[in-house]
């Protein structure tokens, strides 16, 4: 039984790492109704920038601050030169723009910092310790705490302030939002800046786990099933989706895997997501689409 809980807890904690990536998507989806394909590149870009600054002998928090500033600048540039031109265009246009942005950001990252793999040490002890007879990873606990704090902050920011209601308005109808005096441009900047910040945090944690390298941008694909299950519009949903994916893929790998030859972990989340699409397409916490016919 202890083994079961160990797998379950390990899976839940790993799931929060997925949530961390998924939150970045949720923010931009909430504000524009678009799946931001460039989120993975932003994770890679921020992690690569941070680790390169660190390797040039810049102190940890200083490097963090500089990277954050660069992410803010990136958000400003994206809003000013891409999004502003695309107001009131269909979501597919915006999506294609994020696809393009994704390659530009990836290219820039490699142009500035090169393509080699960097190790990243955050100074967190990764030795497992025992808690009530269960082995837990300290690093996973730390990542979980970070994810929890982020979620709390973001949900306060978007539920308690008028930015929240403005966000939902913008996602629904940009022209109408402009007409009631919502500053679309400021809002989009805020959202991309926050998504950049979330990307940075995710980049550091994932970078420490996998090494900072090109494939970091592929965690986009891991976030997809999380979003489908949790719902694209809910920060809390991203957490729930991450927990479900994390726990179920690890449990499936350990308990079902041996019967069908293992390797389940890699495809199980997608199969689960597909099942969700059939039953509840908007996800657990997502807003259901309303269409009068």
């Amino acid at each position: 039984m202890n083994f079961f809980f160990e797998v379950l807890l390990g899976g839940l904690l790993a799931g929060l790492m997925y949530s961390l990536v998924a939150i970045g998507f949720v923010l931009i989806y909430k504000a524009s109704g678009v799946f931001n394909f460039a989120q993975g590149s932003m994770v890679l870009f921020s992690a690569l920038t941070f680790v390169s600054l660190l390797e040039r002998g810049i102190a940890f928090w200083f490097a963090f601050g500089i990277t954050l500033l660069i992410m803010l600048l990136l958000a400003w540039v994206i809003e000013r030169f891409v999004l502003r031109k695309l107001v009131n265009r269909p979501p597919i246009t915006l999506f294609m723009a994020t696809l393009g942005l994704s390659y530009i950001i990836e290219g820039l990252a490699q142009l500035f910092w090169g393509a080699q793999v960097h190790g990243l040490e955050l100074g967190i002890n990764d030795e497992p310790f025992e808690f009530l007879g269960i082995l837990l990873s300290q690093f996973d606990l730390f990542a979980a705490a970070v994810a929890g704090t982020l979620v709390l902050l973001l949900s306060l920011l978007f539920d308690k302030t008028r930015t929240g209601i403005a966000l939902r308005a913008v996602a629904d109808d940009q022209l109408a939002a402009l007409a009631v005096g919502i500053k679309l441009q400021k809002l989009w900047f805020i959202v991309w800046a926050v998504a950049g910040f979330v990307g940075l945090v995710a980049g550091l944690l994932w970078g420490a786990r996998l090494g900072v390298q090109f494939s970091l941008s592929l965690i986009v694909l891991k976030a997809l099933p999380v979003l489908i299950i949790g719902g694209f519009t809910s920060v809390g949903g991203a957490i729930a989706g991450g927990l479900i994916i994390g726990a179920s893929e690890k449990l499936a790998e350990v308990f079902i895997g041996p019967y069908i030859g293992g390797g389940i972990e890699n495809w199980f989340p997608y199969a689960l997501a597909m099942l969700f699409l059939l039953v509840r397409p908007a996800g657990i916490f997502g807003e259901r689409a309303i269409e009068r016919v």
Partner: protein, 258 residues
């Protein structure tokens, strides 16, 4: 006509899209607290004109004076800040949100507290929230949509959605209200009801209203001032009675016997 001042003055406004002239050299004035109707056949440039006033389109030529300030180009949120609110021809509500939340977005520019106060519910935030809610409720009551306060807007019937859109515009306490076909697709009862609300708005708040409407009988009973457009040009301008006997208008639009 009344001796009131002009709130809105359009001078020699022209706009074309890729060489197609939408609006050509149009000038007219709208006085404070009057209801001004823009009429004309489809494609006459009525909606384009409304979009120019509200800053969605920038005119190629001409200037607009609103509330004493003259300008050529402006952005929609600047228009909103100056007190111009509007509704859209194809309802543009926030469909996933409740009636109350939609009306509250109309109060967006009236919110005094900043986001830090809102985040921690400190300083001006609690009082502000109560005040905005109270103002929104007043408008909801004014338009008799209390029963649907918490309904999701996308689920409401068409006529009610039109009313919610008016409520959102009124929540901003506008000095100028632009209504793009507020009665399109309505039956006679609904049209009558909407007319009442528009007249009540004028009487209660002294709001200046510019509206586009196709139903001539509605226009004639509602408006104090009618501007007639045809192929992007102004062909008539005056009181309903003056416009009714203008031969050019009769030719182009009313199609009555000569």
């Amino acid at each position: 006509m009344t001796g009131r001042n002009f709130l809105l003055n359009l001078e020699h406004i022209s706009l074309s899209f890729k060489g197609v002239k939408a609006v050509t050299d149009i000038s007219f004035g709208v006085r404070e607290s009057e209801i001004c109707a823009l009429i004309g056949p489809n494609g006459a440039g009525k909606s384009s004109l409304l979009n120019i006033i509200n800053g969605v389109y920038q005119p190629d030529k001409g200037s607009i004076t609103f509330d004493g300030k003259t300008r050529q180009a402006m952005k929609p949120h600047h228009a909103a800040e100056q007190g111009i609110a509007r509704t859209f021809q194809n309802i543009a509500l926030f469909k996933g949100m409740s009636v109350l939340d939609n009306v509250l977005t109309g109060r967006n520019l009236k919110v005094k507290s900043n986001w830090i106060e809102q985040l921690f519910n400190l300083g001006r935030a609690p009082g502000d929230a109560v005040f905005q809610r109270k103002k929104a409720e007043e408008i909801i009551e004014f338009l008799s949509i209390q029963a649907w306060r918490n309904s999701i807007v996308g689920n409401l019937p068409y006529g009610l959605q039109k009313r919610v859109e008016l409520a959102r515009a009124l929540a901003a306490e506008p000095t100028l209200l632009l209504l793009d076909e507020p009665m399109a697709g309505m039956n006679n009862d609904e049209k009558y009801e909407m007319s009442r609300f528009i007249l009540d708005t004028q009487r209660e708040f002294g709001t200046t209203i510019v509206l586009i409407e196709h139903d001539i009988s509605v226009v004639m009973s509602l408006a104090q001032h009618v501007v007639v457009l045809d192929y992007g040009k102004k062909i008539g301008d005056g009181t309903p009675d003056e416009v009714r006997i203008n031969p050019e208008v009769i030719d182009a639009y009313l199609g009555l016997k000569h």
